[in-house]
């Protein structure tokens, strides 16, 4: 017990120290690297409170994909861009106050917990069998709170539209440039050997999410990373923004989600309600569609917009 308490204390102190360093450090690159390391520590923290699903998501989406996205944005930013300048003092105070308020609120909840914690956990566990999945987290995401999950994926799509809107007029519809002019040989080797393995692992993580920690978001992040490797190594160019196949891949997941959700009115009496006995296959169909769409969204987010001078 004392050993784990010691480890937890060390973890928390390191995280707080790293967080402070991340804010104070001048160099944007160093701050991003710190952010990625912070994601790693945070996922260790989630593991310590026995939330491996959240830990996996944090390490894949929070630390990994977001960190790489920040690095990519920094690479694309030009000298005069806002990303390379220090924000104004009032802005920094505002951010500090808002973040501090959230931290204080969460801290108060931990220090002064309600006498009886409000929980739906027993209710959720009781009806787990009727959803057809064994992992309660997946049941919450895909059955009890499917609407939230739907909105989460649409948010990623909106973010992609935001990135695409940065495309210069003349370059609209072009392919984003990802590979450098001369691709290093080790990177090429990595892309050729790792990508087949990574695709298997990504699909495995999604599939195993039904009964064990894992799921489409984590799996899709791995698939997106593999796709990014392929693009960076120049094995395949990024698809053109106007590509029909890309657009279909982006919307197939949300479209299946909406279709099954709306048909829930007819067959089960509510939006996103699954008919008895069909929950598992319907959830699998949605997860498969979302896996493709989220991987495509994250991959294109990482690829960024086409730049000045790119022609469709």
């Amino acid at each position: 017990m004392t050993e784990t308490a010691f480890f937890d204390a060390l973890l928390v102190v390191t995280m707080i120290g790293l967080a402070i360093w991340m804010i104070v450090v001048r160099d944007v690159f160093a701050a991003i690297v710190g952010f990625m390391a912070f994601g790693l520590l945070l996922s260790l923290g989630w593991l310590r409170i026995e939330a491996p699903d959240v830990g996996l998501t944090e390490i894949a989406v929070g630390g990994g994909a977001t960190g790489v996205m920040l690095l990519r944005a920094r690479g694309l930013a030009r000298a005069g861009d806002a990303m390379n300048s220090v924000p104004s003092v009032p802005f920094r105070i505002l951010v500090g106050v808002l973040a501090g308020a959230v931290a204080l609120f969460l801290g108060a909840l931990v220090v002064f917990p309600p006498a009886v914690a409000p929980t739906l956990a027993p209710l959720a566990a009781e009806h787990l069998a009727s959803t057809g999945v064994g992992n309660p987290i997946t049941a919450v995401l895909m059955a009890y709170r499917a609407f939230d999950t739907f909105l989460e994926t649409v948010v990623v799509l909106l973010a992609l539209i935001g990135v695409w809107s940065l495309t210069p007029d003349g370059a609209w519809g072009a392919r984003p440039r990802v590979a450098s002019a001369d691709v290093p040989a080790p990177l090429l080797l990595l892309a050729q050997w790792l990508v087949p393995l990574g695709i298997v692992i990504g699909i495995y993580i999604t599939w195993v999410g039904a009964d064990e920690p894992g799921g489409k978001f984590q799996g899709a992040t791995i698939l997106a990373a593999m796709w990014m490797l392929v693009m960076m190594a120049g094995l395949r160019p990024a698809p053109a923004l106007s590509s029909r196949r890309l657009r279909i891949a982006l919307v197939v997941g949300p479209a299946i989600f909406i279709a099954i959700g709306v048909s829930g009115f007819h067959f089960a009496g509510a939006f996103l309600a699954y008919p008895d006995g069909l929950a598992k296959p319907l959830i699998l169909a949605i997860e498969a569609g979302l896996l493709i769409s989220i991987a495509a969204m994250l991959g294109m987010l990482l690829a960024g917009p086409p730049l000045e001078g790119d022609r469709p």
């Binding site: 080790p186 990177l187 990595l190 050997w193």
Partner: protein
């Protein structure tokens, strides 16, 4: 038998930790980037290697053990590639 396995685990994991500590000290203390890179990859390679080796007797089955070895191989692959890419940038910076 299980005592022997536990002893092996403790010894191998400790040895792995020694490599991680040495690698960390190297990253902090070594004067130039290439040497620091060397320290980092040694920690990845031998440190993680000994920890995985030490954990093998504790695995529930062959499949779990294979997964651990596979993770080590993946880290090797990624670590070696990353080191090559960093070294490439360093060499380019050396002769502008």
């Amino acid at each position: 038998m299980s005592l022997l396995a536990d002893l092996f685990t403790v010894a191998a994991v400790t040895l792995g930790l020694v490599f991680f500590v040495a690698g960390t000290v190297g990253i902090i203390r070594f004067p130039d980037s290439l040497s620091r890179l060397h320290a980092l990859t040694k920690a990845d390679n031998l440190g993680l290697g000994f920890i995985v080796l030490g954990l093998l007797p504790q695995c529930a089955g062959v499949f779990d053990a294979l997964k651990l070895v596979f993770i080590w191989l993946l880290v090797q692959f990624a670590g070696a590639t990353g080191a090559q890419l960093v070294a490439r940038v360093l060499r380019r910076e050396e002769r502008p």
